[in-house]
């Protein structure tokens, strides 16, 4: 019989999440012309019910360990629902549906596989599955091209992006592979002065896997995913080996590749030009329009924001998926934006702490890699929104509108909770 765990801190935090979601929804609804109608509370309340249901699920299964990740993910998702209500209310029901599916995926990931180490045993299966998923948008019938990027797969009316799932598979594969690689590395280490010489037969497959991912994304013209995969690869390599040299080479490759991409691909050049001169006369009304409006939204935010429902986000094209952060910052100000960033950092920090305590190398690499995914996604999109780096198509985890992203990120949370649970069982924390 599985002992039920109490998980009180998690329960307490979820009440706060509930309050946050309801307050936000009320504020947005009341600011609308139609005013606040009580039936609009259905959405946030439904989500809170889902969140509590997940909590009860975890408690009933006797899941031990971390109690912070679920509330933070729930808080971010709740904020996301408030923002979708504000920015694209016609998509609200759809986003809630995806949240429900994400909750289901979360529960499923908690339940299976029964033994997490099975993940490491089937690494080549995951690699193959990942490649297939990556290639699927290129298939004739089900592949869809949207805004110049061929990264979507559609089944009927439902579309999703397979590369979101691939990022998880990639981390699992790298974690499993590098666990073995690490052992080999510690045995056959040769160096030319400060430069490590990796044993090539072992280095080969991992570089090949990474190269396949990169090439496919370049082919499918998704700048953001390409950047993400490169980042994941470098991070996992650093986590496993600790060699800063590989990271340096990787960054060099990025710059060189970026240089060639700038000259070879029009859309890359356009993005970089917008980043460098968004206010130039010939750019600001054309390709730079979105970013310029986003920056104005930030400037309008000030310290405490214009107030929920009081900003002017409809000036920004496709604001609900590409520029949620700017729209949020306009209405809650620097104070609110900082709190949001702090939530993400707390999430990542907790994930890294889970990784530190994990009992095996595979689990350490897995947890750290998963936390890194959330960190890098957040940094890349917020950086793009604030003109620190060129804009990419990556969306803000949990908050931005987008089904595939929501589902895979909740699965990510489930995996981290499982690692924490396993650690707790072995080491004996409640």
């Amino acid at each position: 019989m599985i002992a039920v765990t109490r998980r009180r801190p998690e329960l307490g935090l979820l009440f706060w999440v509930g309050a946050l979601g309801v307050t936000g929804s009320v504020a947005v609804a009341a600011a609308e012309v139609a005013g606040f109608r009580p039936q609009q509370l259905v959405i946030p309340v439904t989500f809170i019910v889902i969140a509590f249901a997940l909590h009860l699920f975890l408690a009933a299964r006797g899941i031990r360990g971390d109690q912070l990740l679920l509330p933070i993910a729930a808080a971010l998702t709740a904020i996301g629902l408030v923002l979708v209500q504000r920015l694209a209310s016609n998509l609200l029901v759809q986003q809630l549906s995806w949240t429900l599916i994400a909750a289901g995926a979360f529960a499923a990931t908690i339940l299976i596989p029964r033994d997490l180490t099975a993940l490491s045993r089937f690494k080549w299966t995951w690699a193959l599955l990942g490649v297939l998923l990556l290639l699927s948008p290129l298939l004739p019938v089900i592949g869809r091209e949207v805004n110049g990027a061929r990264i979507w797969v559609g089944l009927g009316t439902v579309t999703f992006e397979p590369w979101e799932a691939v990022k998880l598979l990639l981390v699992i594969f790298f974690a499993a592979y590098l666990e073995e690689f690490r052992e080999v590395l510690s045995q056959t280490q040769r160096r030319f002065g400060p430069i490590p010489v990796p044993p090539l037969p072992y280095f080969g497959p991992i570089v090949a896997m990474w190269a396949i991912a990169m090439v496919v994304m370049v082919f499918e013209r998704d700048l953001g995913a390409t950047l993400l995969f490169l980042g994941i690869f470098l991070a996992m390599l650093y986590l496993a080996t600790g060699e800063a040299f590989y990271t340096l080479i990787g960054i060099l490759l990025l710059l060189v590749g970026g240089y060639f991409a700038y000259h070879a691909f029009g859309h890359v050049a356009a993005r970089v030009d917008v980043w460098l001169h968004p206010f130039a006369e010939d750019v600001r009304f054309d390709s730079g329009y979105q970013l310029v409006q986003g920056l104005f939204a930030l400037a309008n935010g000030g310290l405490f924001g214009a107030g929920l429902g009081n900003g002017m986000p409809d000036r920004i094209p496709v604001v609900w998926s590409d520029f949620v952060f700017d729209a949020f910052a306009e209405e809650v100000g620097f104070a609110g934006a900082l709190a949001l960033l702090a939530l993400y950092l707390l999430f990542v920090y907790r994930g890294m702490l889970i990784a530190l305590r994990a009992p095996t190398a595979f689990l350490q690499l897995l947890a750290a890699g998963l936390s890194f995914i959330v960190a890098v996604q957040t940094l890349v999109i917020v950086g793009g929104n604030a003109r620190l780096i060129p804009l990419t198509g990556i969306t803000l985890p949990f908050v931005a509108y987008g089904g595939s992203s929501l589902v895979t990120n909740w699965m990510l949370v489930a995996l981290l909770i499982r690692v924490s649970d396993l650690t707790a069982r072995v080491k004996g924390t409640p």
Binding site: R182, L185, S186, Q189, A235, Y238, L239, A240, T241, G242, F279, R284, F285, V292, Q293, L295, F296, A297, L298, A299, N300, G301, G302, L303, A306, N310, M312, R315, A329, G333, F334, A337, L338, L341, Y344, L345, V348, Y349, M352, A355, L356, A361, Q364, L365, A368, F372, A375, L379, V382, G383, A386, R387, L388
Partner: protein, 478 residues
């Protein structure tokens, strides 16, 4: 031995934390610091507010004729402009492309949040109460404006007329024009925007305030003023022999006289016959720094105080006049000088007003919805640029430049009124010289000062002078 994974995790976490810090600083910059910088940008959200969703204030001319108003359509409000010739002044107001001209400069007043009424700003931001906007009244005089537009016709250039006593701009015409209605109408804005931006004649530029041209002989007014106040006797005769150079170091460069003159010239002659060599000589006599100083004092190269942004112009590329050939060239109005027609009109006005330069402004008054004046725009004079005696002396000489025997600016004469003025034919790299005329009337107590600029006009200043006469006549009610 390889590092422990735990150590690597710690290193990676630190890197991530630093990256978050940098990102927060970046976000902080845009939310907290950049607000000032962006507030002047036409895309500022407060400026584009109330273009589509609410009616915007009315823009009128001095006689309260409506120049711009909001009209309700199926999708909200759009701006409609009654007088197409004032498109450069009123500007356009488009939800997509922002605003320009008066629509941008007085945007706050036009959405009911004029700075003179701070309470309205608070109420709008925090209580969401919108004060119904009033109107912005410009100083444009319909009769003078129509005369200016008719005078300019289809020739590229600009005409501006100001009241030298208070700086109100009575007429402002710039060609080529564009139709602001097309840009402010959501149905046509995309096509219209593309068209005006791709037009090589650049119709969007308000040539009165933003057109930069070499002033040609009209700059001699400034040279003369500088000379008189720095020890040059205007009655002293200076030998003029065409062509002229100071010494052999000038190589193949000579100052040419437009009338192949050989004789002794006083300053009055120099103005009447627009003699380049005279002014080159006295320019060298007082020196480059003095000329640059007086040019600055007259506003060239200095930021404009007009309520619509105007170009600064320049005395030279570096701001200094260091080479003798450059000094000579600049003294008679070429060199590297670049000025706007507005600046030259102000020069004329300054002379007419005894050396006091007015501050130009398009708008005269901001009114509330009931028609009461909220704010009167009367910035007062910019300062005393030259002595009243200098101004009087120059006025006399400039009257001579219009009325005297053989005067180049004779076509600017108006019956029954003494007109002071100066023509100019500015050499420029794009072909025929630009034709200038600046002047004011009546000379003894002027109520109007004009600047005419015709781009690439075959007879230069001679083409511009009659236009000056017509516009000033209209202003005087003739």
């Amino acid at each position: 031995m390889t590092r422990s994974i735990a150590a690597n995790i710690r290193g990676l976490t630190l890197t991530i934390a630093l990256a978050f810090l940098v990102t927060s600083i970046g976000v902080g910059y845009w939310t907290l610091v950049s607000g000032e910088e962006l507030s002047a940008d036409p895309f500022n959200p407060r400026l584009v507010a109330a273009i589509r969703d609410r009616p915007r204030g009315i823009i009128t001319d001095a006689a309260n004729n409506k120049l711009a108003e909001s009209v309700q359509t199926a999708n909200g409000y759009k701006r409609v402009y009654a007088d197409k010739t004032l498109a450069h002044v009123t500007g356009y107001a488009s939800f997509q492309f922002g605003a320009s001209g008066i629509e941008a400069a007085y945007a706050e007043s036009l959405i009911g949040q004029d700075p003179a009424d701070p309470l309205s700003q608070w109420r709008a931001r925090y209580l969401r109460e919108r004060v119904p906007p009033g109107s912005v009244m410009l100083g444009i005089n319909q009769a003078v404006q129509q005369a200016a537009v008719a005078a300019l016709g289809n020739r590229r250039g600009a005409i501006v007329a100001i009241d030298p006593r208070n700086g109100a701009i009575l007429a402002s015409a710039s060609w080529p024009q564009y139709d602001a209605n097309l840009i402010s109408d959501p149905a046509t804005e995309d096509a219209a925007w593309k068209q005006v931006n791709e037009d090589p004649n650049k119709p969007l530029i308000n040539r009165v305030t933003q057109g930069l041209y070499p002033p040609g002989s009209t700059f001699k007014i400034i040279t003369g003023a500088a000379a008189i106040e720095n020890g040059v006797d205007p009655n002293a005769k200076v030998r003029v022999d065409d062509p002229w150079q100071a010494d052999k170091s000038w190589g193949t460069y000579f100052v040419r006289s437009s009338s192949r003159a050989h004789g002794d010239y006083t300053m009055a002659d120099g103005y009447r016959l627009s003699e380049n060599i005279y002014f080159a000589k006295i320019g060298l006599q007082i020196g480059g720094p003095k000329i640059a100083e007086y040019a600055q004092r007259f506003g060239i190269g200095a930021p404009s105080r007009c309520d619509i942004t105007a170009a600064k112009g320049q005395v030279s590329r570096t701001g200094a006049l260091d080479r003798p050939t450059l000094i000579a060239d600049t003294a008679y109005g070429q060199g590297e000088l670049l000025v706007t027609p507005l600046q030259m009109a102000l020069v004329a006005a300054t002379i007419g007003m005894g050396g006091v330069m007015p501050t130009p402004h398009y708008a005269n008054e901001v009114r509330d919805a009931e028609g009461h004046a909220l704010r009167v725009i009367a910035p007062g004079p910019s300062g005393q640029v030259i002595n009243p005696e200098t101004a009087r002396a120059l006025t006399t000489m400039l009257v001579g430049a219009v009325e005297g025997p053989g005067a180049f600016a004779f076509a600017a004469k108006i019956a029954g009124v003494h007109v002071a003025g100066k023509t100019g034919s500015a050499e420029n790299p794009s072909g025929a010289p630009h034709g200038w005329f600046v002047g004011f009337a009546p000379a003894e107590a002027p109520t109007v000062a004009v600047a005419i600029l015709l781009e690439n006009s075959p007879k230069g200043g001679e083409d511009a002078a009659p236009l000056g006469g017509r516009v000033m006549a209209a202003a005087l009610g003739k």
